[in-house]
């Protein structure tokens, strides 16, 4: 479980996150949604410790993460997997080396065992025979899947995904969404996903937080989102034709 407690973050005096309090439970997909520039990515990066928050606290299973000394913070980070918007695979390493990197650095497994684990994770994300390809040789969807494989290779307790569907076609997006949801349920991971893709919201939105101008504006599930009278959220949600159709179908 991850809990954000009244967190505030500003850049050069400009407040980007204002008094955000939220709780993210394991085993379900927690979504942070909002318009571009609303502060979603800053919130995600603050939760994972890439941004230092101005005030408030972030708890990982009742351990106050943001006040931990660097060495202990690093220990918690080994339990964290993160999927970045562009995949963030190391360009100079091939797929196998990318996925194996956390194992190389933090385990004493023999090479055969590491290869087995890498192949298992790649198979889990439906990738085969790509071990020796470099990131430049992969498609956008494959990069995201390799990044997921790398994120889960150490059996993380926490998984953060920043815009996992950006730049992907609708079919691949659904595949990635379902994959993240399956992994979350299978390993009981605390998963937090940043997105502005309404398809994802309607597909896997088990717990949704809507961020508007740096503030938590609304909280609920994918079922609640169609019935809210929150104007800003409605403006955001029903900008998508898909959501309009979903609401119309529900009303019929």
């Amino acid at each position: 479980m991850i809990r954000a407690d009244h967190i505030i973050k500003s850049f050069d005096g400009r407040i980007v996150l204002n008094d955000i309090t939220a709780e993210f439970t394991p085993g379900i997909t927690n979504l942070i949604i909002g318009q571009s520039g609303s502060g979603k990515t800053v919130l995600l990066k603050s939760l994972v410790g890439l941004h230092k928050i101005d005030s408030g606290n972030i708890f990982y299973n009742d351990i106050c993460f943001n006040t931990l000394p660097f060495a202990q913070m690093k220990a918690i980070r080994k339990e964290v997997g993160m999927l970045f918007q562009g995949g963030a695979l190391l360009d100079s390493s091939n797929v196998e080396e990318n996925v194996r990197l956390p194992l190389d650095l933090f385990t004493n497994m023999p090479m055969d065992e590491k290869r087995d684990r890498v192949n298992f994770c790649l198979k889990r994300v439906n990738l085969g025979n790509v071990n020796h390809l470099y990131p430049a040789e992969l498609s956008g969807g494959m990069i995201k899947r390799v990044a997921i494989a790398r994120a889960i290779v150490l059996n993380p307790k926490y998984l953060f995904c920043d815009e996992p569907n950006s730049g992907l076609d609708p079919m691949t997006s659904v595949l990635i969404d379902n994959l993240i949801q399956e992994i979350t349920q299978e390993y009981n991971i605390t998963t937090i996903i940043n997105t502005h893709d309404m398809n994802s919201v309607m597909e896997i939105g088990e717990h949704i937080i809507f961020i508007y101008k740096g503030e938590k504006w609304w909280e609920g599930t994918k079922h609640d989102i169609l019935h809210t009278d929150n104007q800003e959220l409605n403006d955001f949600v029903f900008a998508s034709a898909m959501a309009k159709r979903a609401k119309a179908a529900e009303q019929q």
Partner: protein, 247 residues
């Protein structure tokens, strides 16, 4: 002025992170070998080409300046050797490598920064500064003295080839000159300088790359800054080391 001190402060903080205890030594050794290949071995060609021409040009210039019946011809070889050993093979080669290796390091690390690869390493619990910069520093500090030695040999040989091809200097006199009054400490001095320059180039370029942010324009800017500042630092350290080691 405030910005300069800010840069220096950030540089030393980064170096503190770079030289902190590595996660796993075996991984670092592998990376050092990879970096030696990428930054050192791949520079042999350019160092060889520059050195052979440098040696030849120095010999021509010495021949022109020493054109007098009162000056023995072997002094041309002697002066060419001293120039190569004392200055050209360490300082000029370092300035060339600041352009080649420095821009390579800054743009590689800068691109990793803007494509969130460094953030990904941090999230994994890896000390990204140490993981990315330390192997580069170690590999260049070890390999640059080898490049300097190579440059000395090829440069002096370049002068000899010029003597044979043009007849500007008697080849036997040139050989006598390069063996005349040899001081082995000059080689030690040159190798010490090249190791220091290697550290300067790699750490400064790593610093500019590591703190690059924004887009590809910023990476280009970081790369340019890395080359300019490294070159200035090389000249400053050249003066300091010469004063300390030769005076």
């Amino acid at each position: 002025m405030k910005k300069l001190f800010e840069y220096i402060g950030r540089y030393f903080i980064l170096m503190g992170k770079v030289f902190s205890k590595p996660e796993k030594r075996t991984i670092y050794w592998q990376r050092i070998l990879v970096e030696m290949q990428a930054l050192g071995l791949s520079s042999i060609g350019i160092v060889a080409i520059i050195s052979v021409f440098m040696g030849a040009v120095i010999t021509i210039q010495m021949a022109l300046n020493f054109e007098s019946p009162f000056i023995p011809q072997y002094l041309i070889g002697y002066a060419a050797r001293e120039s190569m050993l004392l200055e050209f093979s360490s300082t000029i080669v370092a300035l060339i490598l600041a352009g080649k290796v420095g821009s390579n390091i800054a743009s590689e690390i800068g691109t990793m920064r803007i494509t969130e690869q460094i953030d990904a390493l941090e999230i994994m619990g890896v000390n990204s500064a140490s993981y990315l910069i330390l192997p580069k520093i170690i590999s260049t500090v070890i390999f640059f003295p080898f490049l300097t030695t190579l440059s000395m040999g090829i440069g002096i040989a370049g002068g000899y080839v010029l003597c044979i091809l043009t007849g500007a200097v008697n080849p036997d006199a040139y050989i006598t000159g390069i063996r005349y009054d040899f001081k082995p400490f000059y080689i030690t001095y040159s190798l010490i300088k090249s190791s220091v320059f290697a550290f300067v180039i790699t750490s400064i370029s790593g610093f500019f790359g590591y703190y690059a942010n924004g887009n590809s324009l910023e990476v280009g800017r970081a790369s340019t800054q890395a080359v300019v500042i490294s070159s200035i630092a090389i000249l400053i350290f050249n003066l300091i080391l010469t004063q300390l080691l030769l005076m």
